[in-house]
Structures are given as C-alpha cells and as structure tokens.
Symmetry: D2
Subunit: 323 residues, 4 copies
C-alpha cells in the first residue's frame, strides 16, 4: 500500500481531528502517503484532495470539529456519483480509505467497496455512541461532559429559584448521553427512548417529590426523534402540576463542539492508528473499535445492523440515586 | 446600627454569593450582626430569617446561584404584605437592609422605605447589565463568558458543516450580552434591540457573504422581549436563501449559572462591602455601583428611571471586524 | 445489616463525593442507616461520626474534594488505636464500613477486620489509577483532564516563543496520568517510571527534532518518587543543548481538585452502590471495581500486592504520533 | 498610508490574536495593506514578513498565544540591528507599525522612531497589567481567571486535608494578579510587592487563625523578582508553626496560555482598531489604551516611566473578607 486517503462524514464530533492526526502520522511512520478528502463523499466526487504530512496535523489534536470538514452527499447515493468518486481515487492513486463517521458513512463505504473494490476501514466518529463494535465512539465523552457542565450551571439557577427544569440533551434514538447526565447531574428523572417512561409516570414522580417538600427538580430528556421533545413534556407537567415553576433548556449544538476530552483524544488516536494498520494488513469493510479495552475490527454489516444495548444497570442507578 | 439583613431578589446571577459573603464579613468586621433573609421579599413576609456569621459564608465565593435563594412575591406588592414584612423586621431587630437584585427589587425597597422608614442600600445583581449607576452588574461578566464559550463550541460545528447558526443570547431589552459575544465570537452579524436591524438587512449581509464564497456564518440574536426570537429570524433567512444550511441554538438558562468569573467575584465583593458601609454612614434608597473604577452611590430613582446607553462604538466594531 | 458507616482516607480525589452520595442513598434505598466518619481512621478513633441522610448529600455530586475530609492517622497503625476505633464503631452500632481510598486505606481495613471482625468493602478513590482490580480509579479521569488542560495552555506559550517545556504531572510510581497527557497533548516525549527512558535518549530525541528545524517541544515527566523530577531533566537537557530555550512547569496539586468529570461521577456512583450492596451480601475485605465494564469485587490482598500493568501499546502510540 | 505591519513582542498574552485580527481587519476596512512580522524585532531584522488579509485571521480570535510568535532580539538593541530592520521595512514598503507588547517593546519602538522616523502605535499586551496608560492590559483578565481556577481546585484539596497552601501567581513586580486571586479565591493572606508584608506578619496571622481552630489556609504569593518565592515563605512558616501541614504550588506558565476571556477579546479588538486608526491619524510613539472606558493614547515616554499604582482599597478588602 503506497497511498491512502482519510475523510470525515456525517455529524462532526470532537476527537475527529485526533483521529485524522493519528491516521496521517501512522501512515507517515510506515512510509505511506496520505491525502485528506474535504467534505466527505461530496469532496471525493468533486476531487477535493489535499496532501497531508506530519506538519499538516500539528496543533490539531486539541481542536473541536474536523479540519477536513463534513457534508452530506446526495450524489454519492447514486451509482453515477460513486463512479465519479472512484475515478477521482484512481486519478490520485489512492489504494485505501479511512472513513471517520457513523453508520451512514459506513453504509456508503460498504456499497462502494462492493462496486469498485476500494478497501475502507472505518473509525467510529459520532457523539451519539450508538455504534455496535466499540464501547465508546469518538466524541461521546466530550459531548457528555459538555452537557453535564450545562446541567451543573442550570442546577445553580434551579436551586436558587425552586424551579423544575426540563433539559434536553442529544443522542438521537438512544439514552447514552442522557443517562450519565442524569446520574452525574443529580437529576430526579431521566427520559430515554430505551425505557419509554410515560408522561404520567413523570408527573407522578414529581408530585411525590413535591409532597416531600422537594422544590427544585431536574428532568433530563433525550431528544429522541427530533429536537424539542422537552417542550412537550414540560407542557404536560405544567398542566398537571400548575404550582410547579417549569423551564425548558435545549442544550443543542454546543454538544457537538469544543476541545475534546482526554478520553476522546486517546480514543481517536488509538482508532486512527488501528485504521491505518488495519488497511496495511489487508482489512476492508470493517470498523476499528475498542471493546473491553482491546482493539477489535467489526464488519460494517454488524456495526450497521446490530444494536448496542444500553447498560440496564444505569437505569436502576438513577432510581436509587434520586432517593 | 446593631443588626442588618441581606437578601437576594429577582433573577439570580453568578457573584451574588460573593456579595452576600462580603456583606456578612463586613458587618462582622464592624461589629454588626447580620441575618440572611431567604427567598427575597417572600421570605421577609414569612419570617424566613437565618443568622449568619463569618463561617456561614465560607467556601461560597466560587458558587453560582444564591445561597439565600430568590423568589418573586405578589404579596409584597400589596400594602398589607409590606406591613407583615415590616413587622418581621421589627421582631428581628433589623435596622437596615442590603438588597441584591435589579430594578424590581429596588422599586420594592423604595416604596417600602417611604412607608416604613427602613433604610435599604441596593447591590446591582443581574446578568443583564441594564442598570444605570454602575458600569457592570454582578453576574454580567460570567454570563458573557458562558455565552461566548457556547459560541466557540458552535463555531467548531458551524465551520465543519458550512452552516449558518442563529445563536440567541439573554439580555432582556438590551444588547449588552449579545455584543461582546459577537465581537469575541467572530460573528458576522449581531441583532440587538438598540439598533433594530431589519431581517432584510440580515438577509442582504448573508447573501453578500455567500457571494464572496463564505460558507459558514454566525448571527448573534439578543433574546429581546421573549425567548425564541432567533427562530423567527432563521425562518425568514431560510425562506430568502434556501441554499443556506441554517440552525438555531438558544443558549438559555445556562447563562444564569456557573462559578462566577474573577471580575464578578471582585465586583460582588466591592459592592457588598460598600453596601454595608453605606448603611453605616446613613445612606438609604441608593444602589452601590462602580463607575469608572470608583465607588458611586446612585439614588434608586435614578437606577430605575434612567437608561444606561450601550457603547455605540461597539456596533461599529462588529461591522469592521466582520470585514 | 442495620447501620453502616462511610469514610474517605488517603489523598483526596474528585468523585469521592459522588461515591459518598451513592453510599448514602443506596443505604437509604435499602432501609439501612448510614453515618459519615470525618477524617478517615483519625476521626474513627476520635468518634467524629455524623448521621447522614439523603438530603445531606444533595448538591455534592459535582464537588471536588471530599465532604468527609481525609487525614492520615499514625495512631490507627497501633493496635491500641484500632481498639479505640473499634469501640467507637460498637458504640455507634456500626456493622459494616465503606472505605474510600487507596492501598494504605485498604491495608488498614484488612488488619482491622482480622483483629475485630468488622467487614469493610473498599472503593478505589485515588487520582493515580494504580490499583489492581479496577480499570479506572475514582478521580483519575478528572486528574488527567485537568493536567491535559494545563498542557494545552502551555503549548500556546511554547509555540509562541519556540520553547521546550518540561511539564511534570502527578501519578506516583506510574505513568497513568503522564501517558494520556502526552498522547492527547501532542507531546514529543513522555518520561514514565515504567520505561525509565534515559536522559541521554531524551536529549537525542530533542536534538533530532532540532535538526529537523522543530523549535517548540513538550516533554511530559511523571513525578515519580518525588515532586521536582522535571527540574533535573530540564537542567541536563539545557547543559547538553544550550540553544534550547527550556522551561519547567510542575502542575502540582491542582490535579487533585476540581469538579469531577462525567466519567468520575458515574464511576463513583457505580462503586458507591456496589460497595453498599456488597456489604449487604456479606462481603468483606474486598474492593469494588469495574473491569471491562463489569462490576468486580477483588480481595484487598490482591489490590494491595498485585500490580496493574500499564497498557504497553500506549508507549508505542507516543512514538508514532510524534513522528 | 498604504501599508502597515503588525508584530508581537515580549511575553505572549491571551488576546494578542484578537488584537492582530482587529489590526488586519481595520486596515482592510480602510483599504490599507497589512503585513505580519514574525517573532517581533528579530523577524523584522531577518525579513520574516507575511502578507495578511481578512481570511488570514479567521478563527483566531479565540486562540491563546500569538500567531505571529514572539522572541527577544539582542541584535535590535544595537544600532546596526535597527538599521537592518529599517531596511527591511523600506524594502517591504511599510509606512507604519503596530507593536503589541509591553515596555521593552515600546522602548525599542521609541528609539527606532527617533533614529529612522518610522511611526509606531503600541498595544498593551501583557498578562502583568503593569502598564501606565490603560486600566487593563490585553491578557490580564484571562491570566487572573486561569490563576483563580487553579486556586479553586487547590481549595478543594486544602479543605479536604486541613492544609495550608502557598500558591504563587505571576505578575512580576506587582500584585495585580495576586490580589483578585486572593479576594476571589477566599485566601486568608496575600503577599504582594506593593505592601511587603513580612514573614513574621504572615506567621502571626496564621497562628491567630489556628488558635480560632481554623485548619485550612490559602496564602497567595506574588512571584515578585523570580519564580519560587512561595517556597521560601512556606519554609519559614513551617519552621515557626510545625503543626501546620504546608504545601506549595507554583501556578507558572499556564497563566500565559489558554483561550482569552470575553474581556480580553473585546479589549484586544478595541485596541487593535484604535492602533490602526491612530496611525492613520498621524500618531506615533503612543500606546492605545482604555482608561475609564474611554480610548486614550499615551506617549511611550509615559507608559515606560510612569507607574500605575494598585488600587489601595483592594488591600483593605482582603483584610475585611478574611475575617
């Protein structure tokens, strides 16, 4: 293998730059040339290739976002688009790809490989932590800490005013972000897609707290299908318990940014190295991940179709700790 | 003066605890007893008084919120309620008050003094910085830094995805929080009540940027009358420039919490000392503030009715710096 | 089991309060009374017992340090002292202990149990992460992130001035803190007790970098036996490469403080619950830990005498990433 | 004026990039070309000039350090060196300079102007805040907040262990950084060059506290002439009060780095604009500063020879607040 390329695709996540840096330096270390492709599959089609060397990634490990930018590409969903992308890779002499992203990214890579035979090793880059084949995804730890800092700040004002705050955190259809925010943020209730706690149950819990003369509450709400979920819950609660002084905060896109935590820099670095060395060892259509502290390569077909269940003991923890 | 009381009222603000601590220790230093009244005027009426000494405020200077809690009191708006409050003060032997809050708080204190003769010195505690008689209010610097950190994080993801973010910050009917966020956050546009920039002008500026192949934008929107202002602007922009990938973030209540900055701890401490020493010197119906680095006492009538204009040169700065 | 007690001992670590809170609430959840013992074994001897309930630990999960304080006790190292401690426990009706600390703490507990039969379950609370029986100790993740933020700040000034910084981090006789700081902080070199890199090798690496016209460097030095190690290395380097503009920073005790990260709050909570439920299930002389995301109880004899090796692949990562 | 250049010199300070950005964009706004000179006077002599435009300074306002780097130049202290620098400026067609730095920088600029007639406007960039002609210097607010966060973390562990910490902060021969750290950090004692508090007085204060059964203390020590001052004080205290468990932390170079606070970004921006517009208006040998919220240009001769006194009331505040 003489030359590879790396790109980021899908939602950006803190630690992606640590992974890019690791890809570049590992390739360099092994005498392989490396290109960066700007804006994911979109840039692959348009030929936005940039030669990268060790100095290109200096002073990037601590930066949020992705220096290679990210974009969604409608065109890559067509055979014609993928053909153009392949031609670009051939023209640039690229023999292997490292794709940093989530399941959408890996699905594209898998189809692409079937059609054109270009090997790809994936790196799990998403704040949502919803990928099978790795305990944690790159960006998850940072997103949780960012959300938790916001919860800490809100508790200051919730306590001062005896209010009930509904705080919506990201995480698509999983409670991976919501649950540590609830446990670590001292929340009374956490609403996640996995358990589908009813609004009635939320109301009952708050009423019980109110009777025990508890006056300030924090309810963490996973955004679920779409942003704004917390507003619905808050409205129902307010209708049922009018004396409660309710407020809603949607933490939103700040969860995607910021300097990555130590854990995300370390994970991004481990995975970036593993992705390049995987390609060198002839791997393709697999995602590099860390499971129980060991490096594991999981077929894209598994990362895409298998579901990583949430630790059920965490749900019990919220119940015990809000006693 | 043998015994005074201190309370916080209105929206909480980081640095209020630094002010409370300074009130308690200054009183102690001068041999005056001091009580804390919980939940502002509401607790004054209900008799929620707590004796405070030097140790009571240990390890509080770095805490957000207010250890004395805050609340709104409908009852204090009635003569009857104020009579009950006065009786409580008399029963506890309170000869003077330090009121930490904003104009609503000071208006109450002024009426109360007219009716019952209890002297109050005010301390400007609000994140909004909209009080005449002080260059900065306690909590303002922290709120600006919190909002700015959020803007920094959002820029990471805005840049990665070539998006246009509308970020709504607090500040009621002033642009005090919005403007430093725009200048310090590298925003292209800032919309504040003081200038009433039209949506047409916003659209034009963004279109011009787009033509110069600028692809990511940040627009800071002061919340103005009510939360959610940014959604309206974003919708209008999206309708006019459909190719723009727009997103909205309402920073919200996190701006009220968090550990106070050095400036807010220092200001809270200065004002807390000045409030007690003002009472000792026979002052009443005045707010302690810092103007041009000097301690100034301003009559409540001025803090309430006079408007502190925003520095016009700041508006020009946004224009120059977004060149 | 009707009544238990919890205490912290040895060096404090962020997340200890999360563990204390979890102990208190889990006991309460199961109908067990719980006392806090102030200042570890010292307070146990002196009878500094405080009854704790759910409200006692409200608003503590986000706090650094330990609300139960910590101290070293010479007296507990004597049979006589332990007898006094035992008498205090009997007088307070304590039937089991949760000891949050490190190996010194567990050694004491083990001897104490042999002599007086009081069961103890341990919780690994130390920033050093040097305990066998758990992947991570409570406080480690926070300490690493604190140290890494310091490294980030220093790189700003190292780059601006083309300097070589020797940054000393904590971690006693292991490189657990140093290594992620090196990988995540973009350091050129990491010196840890596990590898005993010679000063000659450090000098050679820096000289090679200098020849490649690299001008700013970061060397992470694990403190090892005693604080100040970095000064020695820096002096040797300066003697060998006089043209290098060297500086030393000892990050020091800030690594012990600060609000715990999400990971430490979660870990502290998990372990606190597990410790109480371990006691309820008749366990004694074991430490609760998380290994490969599963709860594990390890005999004190193993936590004390077995060594947790550092992941060797991390050393290779530093080499690859500083290419 | 057709073309100017900007450089940073002396110790770096957070907010310097905000100033550079403002210089570049203000020049651009007014149709003036602008060059950056790398490494201060050293780069001026060597001809390290880089053309800058609006895009060059995108995404720099939030960064610590200085993108133009800084260095000390022995050669510029010679007439010969300054002649070479002048020739470089002439060759590049530079008609005016913006010098961001401290008194060493301005002294050089003043001599240079006398000899060669190149006008310079200065911008006060130093964390030390020791410049006459501006209330605050660029970088000061960030340094204070960084130091204060360190003090907050140390208090966590000081309280947990009942220890007495001596914390050394930067600030050369002034207490500008030390004093807000003491007031905002809840320190018992602050030692600054301005008051020359004796070690005997420190010992006495600590002994008095100890007698009142106070067990943890924080003493803030301004570094003064050279780093390590705190070690001497701590040793003297330990000798006099052996029962005190003393520790020393030198906060060190982390105070120079990090993302600038809102105040420093705003100040850097204001000053950067003012410097360019000052040059345009024919000014030379002056420093742009903000005094009492108003823009002021002060002759270099005053900034260099006049001393900005510290606010004496702050010293009294420390005494009152540590009651």
């Amino acid at each position: 293998m003489k030359r590879i390329a790396v790109f980021t695709s899908g939602g950006d996540a803190p630690g992606m730059n640590a992974a890019i840096r690791a890809v570049v330096r590992t390739a360099t270390y092994h005498g392989i040339e490396v290109y960066g492709i700007m804006r994911g599959y979109s840039g692959m089609i348009k030929g936005e290739f940039v030669k990268l060397d060790s100095a290109s990634v200096s002073n990037t490990v601590q930066k949020g976002g992705t220096i290679l930018k990210s974009a969604r590409s409608q065109k890559f969903m067509t055979k014609e688009g993928r053909k153009e992308a392949f031609d670009q890779l051939v023209n640039h002499g690229i023999e292997g790809l490292v794709a940093i992203g989530g399941n959408g990214t890996f699905t594209g890579a898998m189809i692409f490989e079937e059609e054109f035979g270009i090997p790809t090793v994936g790196a799990p880059g998403t704040i949502d932590n919803d990928l099978f084949g790795t305990d944690y995804t790159i960006g998850y730890d940072t997103a949780v800490n960012t959300a938790l800092e916001a919860v800490d700040k809100i508790r200051d004002t919730a306590d001062s005013h005896d209010r009930c705050f509904f705080i919506e955190v990201m995480g698509r259809d999983s409670g991976y972000i919501a649950i540590p925010c609830a446990i670590g943020g001292g929340a009374e209730i956490v609403m996640v897609p996995e358990t589908q706690m009813s609004e009635e149950a939320v109301i009952e819990t708050l009423q019980n707290g109110w009777k025990r003369s508890k006056t300030s509450f924090i309810v963490i709400v996973a955004e679920g299908e779409k942003e704004g979920n917390a507003h619905h819950v808050a409205a129902s609660v307010k209708a049922a318990i009018p004396q409660l002084d309710t407020r809603v905060t949607i933490i939103g896109h700040i969860q995607r940014g910021g300097s990555p935590t130590a854990a995300d820099r370390l994970l991004g670095s481990q995975i970036g190295i593993a992705a390049v060395e995987g390609l060198m060892n002839g791997m393709r259509n697999v995602m590099a991940g860390i499971v129980d502290r060991k490096l594991v390569y999981t077929p894209f077909s598994d990362t895409i179709y298998k579901k990583k269940p949430i630790n059920q003991s965490f749900m019990r923890m919220v119940e015990i700790l809000s006693v």
